[in-house]
Symmetry: C2
Subunit: 368 residues, 2 copies
């Protein structure tokens, strides 16, 4: 049974650097704890993984923010660490803490034993993608995602979040050969995982390099960027319905390496709030190999009153400047987003103010 035709293609058009009447907007972690309806569903599911592995619950929470706000894209509800979990590392989420692996990978034997996992172990993700896509009924496109090879490696070696990345960097600096092996396995696993999401119905895919920015200059290019490129190289270009699937790469803290990222074979670069969008547009938003830009307001802006939120939205839109408006050509485009995931403490009504401001002000910016 084919999926319903897409009614709002603003996000996909912007990914392809095509003109749009307004700037599309979605929010990283838009289905999350700041929404009381999410908290209620999670309580029913019992745990984060109980939520992520249940197709009905995952579908329900993915659609929750769309019921509140006129967002221009949906993103699969899942976690960036499902792939190493399927490799056998044992993912769990303690209440009030981040993710944790029961069996971190810290010695040569453990690293050499790693394999691209049997994708059947991730069937729950692909089932969720298909279910969400049906439930969306063509309202907005669905984004699939994964952690980047390096970001997965950080958690796989550290076993949890880290303030100094001591264990994973000790491995990197002491045994670069082992680190390259680990990253190669991760890259091939991430590529297979994203391809299966595309086959299940994902209309765009995003690689979250959440910890690329902790690497030294030089190490970033060798140990993160090169393996993101290895993922991109293997990705399917066409979705299950024959439409092209744009690819987004987001390196938190990667603003210094935009010129290196220009060479990536992807359509969109995500940016955090430290980056000046005017500068990013000049560096990678135009000319050969140009990318659409996604981001980049500080999520903490959402704690200010609506009037200040609107002023900060204006700053971000104005920093990017007027997107191109020529319907017959590709040119600079901007997808509005946060520079990082939304905080669980965000007042939901402030999100409404942000989304409304992006649409209204970005129409005005185009003279619409």
């Amino acid at each position: 049974m084919p999926f319903a035709p897409l009614k709002n293609d603003t996000f996909l058009r912007a990914c392809w650097r095509q003109s749009t009447d307004q700037t599309p907007v979605w929010l990283m972690r838009q289905a999350g704890r700041y929404l009381p309806e999410y908290v209620a569903t999670r309580a029913k599911a019992g745990s984060f993984m109980g939520l992520a592995t249940n197709v009905d619950y995952a579908t329900e929470v993915t659609l929750q923010p769309l019921a509140r706000y006129p967002l221009d894209a949906a993103i699969l509800f899942s976690d960036i660490l499902t792939v190493p979990d399927a490799m056998g590392l044992g993912l769990s989420f303690e209440a009030g803490e981040g993710p944790r692996f029961a069996r971190p990978v810290r010695d040569e034997a453990a690293i050499r034993a790693l394999r691209v996992p049997d994708l059947e172990r991730l069937r729950y993700v692909f089932d969720a993608v298909a279910s969400i896509r049906r439930a969306l009924d063509g309202r907005v496109p669905l984004i699939g995602f994964s952690g980047s090879p390096w970001t997965l490696a950080c958690y796989m070696v550290e076993g949890a979040g880290s303030s100094d990345y001591r264990l994973v960097k000790t491995l990197l600096y002491s045994r670069p050969d082992l680190m390259h092996h680990l990253l190669a396995v991760n890259a091939d696993a991430v590529a297979a995982y994203l391809n299966a999401q595309i086959d299940a119905g994902a209309q765009a895919v995003m690689v979250f390099d959440s910890w690329g920015g902790v690497l030294a200059d030089g190490a970033f290019q060798d140990f993160s960027l090169a393996y993101t490129a290895r993922v991109l190289q293997q990705l399917k270009r066409e979705g299950v319905d024959g439409q092209p699937v744009p690819r987004i790469v987001f390196t938190k803290g990667g603003g210094l390496w935009l010129e290196d990222m220009r060479g990536l074979d992807c359509e969109v670069l995500g940016l955090d709030w430290t980056v000046d969008l005017a500068r990013a547009r000049a560096l990678v938003g135009e000319g050969p190999g140009a990318k659409a830009l996604q981001g980049n307001i500080d999520p903490n802006v959402l704690f200010a009153p609506p009037a200040q939120i609107e002023a900060e939205v204006d700053k971000v839109l104005n920093a990017f400047g007027r997107p191109h408006t020529d319907p017959s050509a590709a040119g600079p485009t901007h997808i509005f987003n946060l520079g990082h995931g939304i905080s669980q403490f965000t007042p939901p009504e402030h999100v409404a103010a942000l989304v409304a401001a992006v649409h209204a002000r970005s129409r005005a910016l185009r003279g619409n």
Copy 2:
């Protein structure tokens, strides 16, 4: 009684962009928990603040790393948060945790009540500076320091370290007027504090903007850089012995804003490991308003074996390239350091390998 004449001026010469035979090296947090002799002294002192407020202990630990390694500078043993402590916020260090303020500053009344503290409350710092300077006996220069106005504000509002800076950024975005007031008081307090360190014998001063990098583009310039500039503007240019006192500014995560920092009235910019030293040298190391550059190896390199440490030292030295060698003129210079404080888990013998490699390889780089 005048202080002893300086025997090793390599660090100060490099600060002033004068040629040196080898690249000077010191390490942020070089007197710290990775040294067993430090742990022993701290045990005698009972607590971190017990250590920092006792002149004899502070002198003892400051000199400990110099007894082990041929470092080219000493840095006052203290904490970046002494100034807000003197403002009455009640600083303490829990075992195994970071700093904590008993009375964080979170509302208008508390912010309006803040004053530049009576410097007599910081007498223990100035006494330590004088004592350390005497104990150094001219061996290497002594660096004094403070946290930047913004970095102090982060701790003053959050009350402790933070993963998201939600409280301080909520204040910044909701009540920028109050944040500016807080930062102005901090800037004037930091300037007075550093001037008193200079009067007590500090031969260089450093402003640690440890949390500047968490700010959004635009906010960094308005809420961090502007107040660092306000500090620099008020600093004494001449030390107690009539020598000029160079000023170092280090913004962790500030690599994107180097061109903005070029305008600072200081001599040296500190850089973390995300920055390519070749690029930094091209941007701010030469021409009018040029700065000496300090940094920037990843402290985690010190967990690798000595051969890898030497290879990584080479990468950093080579990225900067050959410093100028013209004794009659100013030109590009590099002060070797870590890109952040040394980890408590560092093997002390690895530090010896790093320091030796910097000196040997940097002499070779100059053809010496």
